[in-house]
């Protein structure tokens, strides 16, 4: 297996996912298969190829610093499960 059980648990924690023991097992198998597949690419000699930051031919796409009106607050907050006086309300994040 290209990936350990501990690594799966760590990645799950970073992604804020809570996996059952079976799911961890399944993820370990699937992620390992993906990594094994990518390992084939590692065999190619890329020492003379610069790293690719983008596949697009575009460079220097910038906008002028001109402000424009934002969205209505009602629209912005429409997807928030809870709101209070114009704020989004969530469960406490610092204990």
């Amino acid at each position: 297996m290209a990936i350990t059980r501990e690594e799966v648990e760590h990645i799950a924690e970073l992604a804020k996912l809570y996996l059952t023991e079976e799911e961890k097992e399944k993820m370990q198998r699937q992620l390992s298969a993906i990594l094994d597949y990518f390992a084939m690419l590692q065999e190619i000699d890329t020492s003379l190829i610069p790293p690719t930051a983008t596949v697009l031919p575009l460079r220097n796409v910038m906008r002028e610093d001109t402000p424009a009106p934002s969205f209505d607050r009602d629209k912005i907050l429409a997807n928030a499960p809870q709101k209070v006086e114009g704020y989004v309300k969530v469960k406490v994040v610092l204990e």
Binding site: L14, D65, P67
Partner: protein, 479 residues
């Protein structure tokens, strides 16, 4: 064993652009109603496309040039992945391995010694939302999410809390000269983190680093570092190990407290931002930006020494704030006595600003009006002390000094007849002293002068009064 502190600083600076980093929402979020400066781009809605704010890139290059950095020919943005409610997208757009500026330096002065602090990099990213924590819930205002944020990272070249403080002050001065940020720590426009470790003095190895977050004033930088250095020293002296932790500064307790960071430390899984094409920064663009840089504090300070004959420390004092330096120069052009103006400005005006906690840019009177005041003293219309109280009034109302003199009848009494009358009254009221004087005790003269000044509320023209008093006493002696 003697220990030496090794300190590096990370400073985040909000840029003074009009719009946000990747969308056209206003970046002037201070005082705005919550969640009113937000759009689908800065909220990270699926299908939206961020576009780089050219001004923010320019401001970052300006800062890099002012900090003697090399400017990248090729730069890109990356996603820094972590989950926290202040980050709507689940990642922050930042720069990882190809920052806009790198390998610079900044000179600071501590105890008369110049210390060069190397700058590792200056990069551009986006600010996060503001969180307000309450008992069992947290409120989020996304206005700040997406405001351009510049990060300036130093090499661990700082050796004391005072050097750290001077580094920040110098940085703020430069940022304000450039006009790229208010660099106001109290308002969160400049935020600072420090990493600190100890090592035996003279050693070149590095100890275990402790990161101090949330330092939001110049005073706290010093306090937090002093506290942390002391704490580490005690551990090492007891033969214990310093653990690699992140702490926050608790200003109420005056201590550092450990922060929980296991959720999102180290593992940010950076990768190139696919929505933002890279930047190829032409040397022509860099040259144009270089040509637009204002005179920077070190250069100005040197010019003030050679042009106006100020000492190095005087020149630094007057150039810390660009507005003060500009005011000084405007005054010198009207009144070519830089030394005298330096003392007036750094003595009286600085004191008034200090008393009221205000800054030079809020000054209510012009250099012209200030020079009028100095001229009133030179002409003998008012004395030095009266000038100081008039300045106080100009400071609070902005009124013209000549008008204040007129309105309050503050002009010196230079009317001979009026002064002679006062002198005669003083002599009449003090027959014993007069007798002593006439009997040869000439030091009584000072007493009479004091009485004359007192009787006129300090407004007697001192030269004239002294001359008239001398004449009057001579008359009485010869009689």
């Amino acid at each position: 064993m003697e220990y030496e502190a090794v300190i590096g600083m990370e400073v985040h600076v909000q840029l003074l652009t009009k719009s946000k980093m990747f969308c056209s929402c206003s970046a002037e979020t201070f005082g705005a109603e919550p969640n009113t400066l937000v759009c689908p781009v800065c909220l990270g809605m699926p299908g939206t496309l961020p576009v780089i704010n050219r001004k923010a890139v320019e401001y970052t290059i300006m800062t890099g040039l002012a900090l003697n950095c090399q400017i990248a020919e090729f730069a890109k943005f990356d996603r820094k992945n972590y989950f926290y409610p202040d980050l709507p997208k689940g990642y922050q757009i930042s720069q990882y391995d190809l920052p806009l500026c790198f390998n610079g330096w900044l000179d600071i002065e501590v105890d008369g010694q110049i210390r060069r602090i190397r700058i590792r990099r200056v990069h551009l990213e986006e600010d996060t939302a503001k969180l307000f924590h309450f008992g069992d819930y947290t409120l989020i205002d996304f206005n700040r999410a997406g405001v351009p944020l510049m990060e300036i990272v130093s090499e661990p070249d700082i050796r004391s809390p005072e050097e750290a403080r001077q580094y920040l002050i110098k940085l703020r001065t430069i940022l304000r000269y450039l006009g790229v940020s208010t660099a106001d720590m109290e308002k969160g426009a400049m935020r600072c983190e420090a990493n600190v470790s100890l090592r035996p003095k003279g050693s070149s190895e590095l100890g275990t680093r402790v990161e101090i977050k949330n330092i939001n004033s110049f005073r706290f930088v010093k306090q937090a570092l002093e506290y942390e250095i002391e704490r580490q020293k005690r551990l090492l002296e007891q033969g214990k190990k310093v653990e690699q932790i992140t702490v926050g500064w608790d200003e109420e307790k005056g201590t550092t407290v450990i922060q929980r960071t296991k959720e999102y430390a180290h593992d940010y899984r950076y990768f190139p931002e696919p929505d933002l094409p890279p930047l190829v920064i032409s040397r022509e663009w860099v040259e144009r930006i270089k040509a637009s840089l204002p005179e920077l504090p070190d250069a100005k300070s040197e010019r003030f020494q050679s042009q106006y004959g100020l000492s190095p420390s005087e020149a630094r004092t007057i150039t810390v704030e660009k507005e003060a330096a500009d005011f000084f120069e405007a005054c010198v052009s009207l009144y070519p006595n830089p030394r005298k103006l330096f003392h007036w400005i750094t003595g009286e005006i600085f004191r008034l600003l200090g008393e009221t906690g205000s800054t030079f840019d809020s000054l209510k009177f012009s250099p012209e009006s200030f020079i009028k005041l100095i001229n009133l003293v030179d002409k003998g219309t008012i004395n030095q002390n009266t000038a100081k109280s008039i300045l106080r009034e100009m400071f609070s109302t902005g009124e013209d000094p000549e008008k204040i003199v007129e309105k309050k009848g503050l002009a010196l009494i230079a009317d001979e007849a009026a002064l002679i009358k006062v002198i005669e009254e003083v002599l009449e009221a003090n027959p014993d002293a007069l007798e002593r004087y006439l009997g040869g005790k000439e030091s009584t003269f000072g007493f009479f002068m004091g009485q004359v000044m007192k009787a006129t509320g300090g407004r007697a023209d001192p030269n004239l009064a002294s001359k008239l008093l001398r004449e009057k006493l001579a008359q009485l002696k010869n009689r």
